[in-house]
């Protein structure tokens, strides 16, 4: 597999983290198949992360996804040593994070691994710029350089002009931008992000996700991104690990996970995705510019197709239901033969989908031929069409970004 040739920058090996006094016993119970809840109840000890194992490659956005309490934050904090694993090791370019002394760990946090938090953790006594400079200040960067870098970061998160505001005057989204800028200013090559956008309302969240993708396009960091939102994971991440009760239950590209949920839990997560609600045929369909009826004359239809630049047109039966699709050459042929109507040829069958069909089921329909897909209602009446172009346009920009980034990774991996 191509991924094996990519450089692994973080290697997580058999990491477990147990909170409580009976660590060994708790792990043994979990490994023998008892549930997390049962273990907690019986011996008051929580196995927050259990036997986690994965690699993170340079330049990718790796997503940890799972429901609340599944151990995402705990695992993420093991990566920069904020939490020491009870068992196993985290290797950052062959250095074992859990074994480092305080000084080295501080060095790594200053220069290698940055972090963005869900609750941001800004200093309320400082203004925006001073907050962004915090990481550089801790590093001992000279004041003028510090200010320059902080202002650059401020620009990156599109907060120019807010430099001297107090942080408690900012909205949630703006605070999160400051948190992001603080991490960007320090310019570590790895960024840990713990549900940075979860507390924001959906609109602002979208905006932040886009911003993140834009910035990531510019700076190309290795990002480990924690979220409980599969949509977000899909949009932002290259690969993902699904966590449940401290264990990684599935692992792969976001697409793998969507397409083939490993178990009920993942299925459940996938169900939560907006796909079925928003991105259905209805959202991507566009009204038909023109249609033809079987009893119309070929000349009339030909003119209509040319006027609308249509290479093919849907043909309706007399009762108003869809018959099929005919191509421009076919109509031209009929017109040349001076036929009275279109009934001389059988229209080519075309793909029909219902209004609620998810877009991901439509995408493969174009693989045999790039012709429009008809959208019909329950009574087989034609409601609209989806062309490859309209499908692409309607799939939100996020998905495009996701696809783009995925191909980026494939390239990166192949290099």
């Amino acid at each position: 597999m191509a991924t094996q040739t990519a450089t692994s920058i973080i290697r997580v090996q058999n990491v477990s983290k147990v909170f409580g006094s009976k660590k060994k016993q708790a792990l043994a119970m979990r490994r023998s198949g008892r549930s997390k809840a049962e273990t907690e109840e019986k011996i008051k000890t929580t196995v927050a992360v259990m036997d986690a194992e994965f690699d993170v490659y340079k330049g990718e956005t790796f997503v940890l996804i799972g429901l609340s309490g599944s151990g995402k934050s705990t695992l993420l904090r093991c990566l920069n040593g904020l939490i020491k694993p009870s068992e196993g090791s985290v290797l950052l370019e062959n250095e074992n994070i859990g074994r480092l002394d305080r000084r080295r760990l501080q060095q790594i946090r200053r220069n290698k691994i940055g972090m963005v938090f869900q609750n941001v953790g800004l200093l309320p006594n400082r203004n925006v710029l001073d907050n962004i400079m915090f990481g550089l200040e801790v590093k001992g960067v000279e004041k003028s350089v510090r200010e320059k870098k902080a202002k650059d970061a401020l620009e990156m998160v599109r907060l120019n002009g807010q430099a001297y505001k107090r942080v408690d005057e900012l909205s949630g989204g703006m605070k999160q931008r400051v948190g992001l800028a603080r991490a960007l200013a320090s310019d570590q090559e790895i960024l840990l992000m713990d549900e940075p956008f979860s507390a924001l309302d959906p609109l602002i969240r979208r905006e932040m996700q886009k911003l993140f993708l834009d910035i990531q396009g510019e700076v190309q960091k290795t990002v480990i991104f924690v979220t409980h939102d599969l949509d977000e994971a899909l949009m932002l991440g290259h690969r993902a690990a699904v966590m449940k009760d401290g264990e990684i239950v599935q692992f792969g590209t976001s697409e793998d996970i969507l397409g083939d949920p490993a178990n009920d839990y993942v299925e459940q997560l996938v169900q939560g995705v907006d796909y079925s609600k928003i991105r259905t045929a209805k959202s991507a369909m566009k009204p038909l510019k023109a249609i033809a009826y079987q009893n119309e004359s070929p000349q009339v239809v030909l003119r209509r197709m040319k006027a609308n630049h249509l290479p093919a047109i849907f043909v309706m039966k007399r009762d108003g239901t869809l018959s099929g699709l005919i191509q421009l050459p076919q109509v031209t042929n009929l017109a040349e033969k001076r036929r009275q109507d279109l009934s001389a040829i059988t229209p080519n069958p075309c793909h029909r989908v219902g209004m609620e069909t998810p877009l991901r089921e439509i995408l493969p329909l174009y693989s045999d031929q790039p012709v429009p897909v008809a959208v019909v209602d329950k009574d087989h009446r034609l409601k609209g069409e989806i062309t490859p172009v309209s499908l692409i346009n309607s799939l939100t920009k996020e998905i495009q970004d996701y696809e783009r980034k995925k191909s980026d990774l494939t390239e990166a991996v192949q290099e």
Binding site: N80, L82, L105, Q106, Q107, I108, R109, R110, N111, G114, M115, F117, N119, V120, G121, L122, L123, P124, N125, N127, F134, G135, E137, V138, K139, R166, E169, R182, S186, L192
Partner: protein, 285 residues
């Protein structure tokens, strides 16, 4: 003899205390002399700074400081209050009291704030410090005044010590409290950016605890002022001494004006410390 006294042997705690003080004076007189000289010099310096220039200059200077720290309203009150004290002919006593209060406040903060930090950082310190603070605040002042008089004699230093013991605890307590109220998320963020313990302390914890620490400072000052009369009983001069004199001479008028002067100083110090933190917030907005 009643039965309990027969059953339970008497503990000679009082004679032990006596012996302890004797032992202290015998063995540590050198140390006590140094402490005595330092404190005496400190109060003397402050008093000299406040009382030797012309009173009007001092009024103007103090009002300006009040303006700078707490705004024009407080400054205006400060100015009129101090002028009233001059017209009551209690200026010199008032300045000695102010010097004593400032000295005891400074000493309380010098010890109290670091102690508050240690209390926050180390569980063991916390376990030891808490009961000691309780004792310091609840033990009747005269209990420690007597040995203090034996060691330092009557005068400003003994008064300072007594005031310090009574007034320092809030500095420790509120520093500790302020530090515990620093949001965990902010600390974690600082840690994640590679801050050292000292950087966390000076760049995150102390700045965020500052409002709470300032209210500790305010309490220390108020408690110091509340000790002025007791302090004069062990030989401190100032307004407290005027109050004592008015009691011994049954001079209601003198007692009244000295009391008013204490209140004026109290209000000035209170407002300056309170508004100085509030004003900073408004400015940075």
């Amino acid at each position: 003899m009643t039965t309990p006294d027969k059953l339970i042997p008497s503990i000679p705690l009082s004679s032990w205390a006596n012996a302890f003080v004797d032992w202290l004076t015998a063995n540590f007189s050198g140390l006590f002399n140094i402490i005595n000289d330092v404190f005496e010099g400190f109060v003397g310096l402050l008093h000299w700074l406040l009382a030797s220039p012309s009173p009007l200059i001092v009024v103007v200077l103090i009002s300006l400081i009040a303006w700078w720290l707490a705004g024009w309203r407080v400054s205006l009150f400060t100015c009129f209050g101090l002028l009233l004290i001059i017209s009551l002919r209690l200026w010199d006593s008032a300045m000695l009291t102010l010097a004593l209060v400032l000295a005891s406040t400074l000493i309380s903060l010098i010890f109290g704030i670091p102690l508050g930090i240690l209390t926050y950082r180390f569980h063991k310190v916390r376990v030891v410090i808490k009961p000691i603070l309780d004792i310091m605040q609840t033990m009747p002042a005269f209990v420690y005044l007597i040995p203090a008089v034996l060691i330092f004699g009557l005068g400003n230093v003994t008064a300072l010590l007594a005031t310090f013991i009574f007034a320092m605890p809030p500095a420790v307590r509120l520093t500790y409290l302020g530090l515990t109220h620093v949001p965990q998320a902010t600390l974690e963020a600082a840690e994640a950016f590679g801050a050292t313990e000292w950087q966390k302390l000076f760049k995150v914890q102390l700045p965020l605890a500052l409002p709470m620490i300032m209210s500790g400072v305010n309490q220390v000052i108020m408690l110091s002022l509340s000790m002025v009369v007791i302090a004069s009983m062990v030989g401190a001069g100032g307004l407290g001494a005027e109050v004592l004199r008015s009691i011994s001479m049954l001079d209601v008028g003198l007692g009244f004006v000295a009391g008013i002067s204490v209140v004026i100083i109290a209000i000035i110090l209170d407002r300056v410390t309170i508004y100085s933190t509030r004003k900073k917030k408004i400015i940075s907005k």
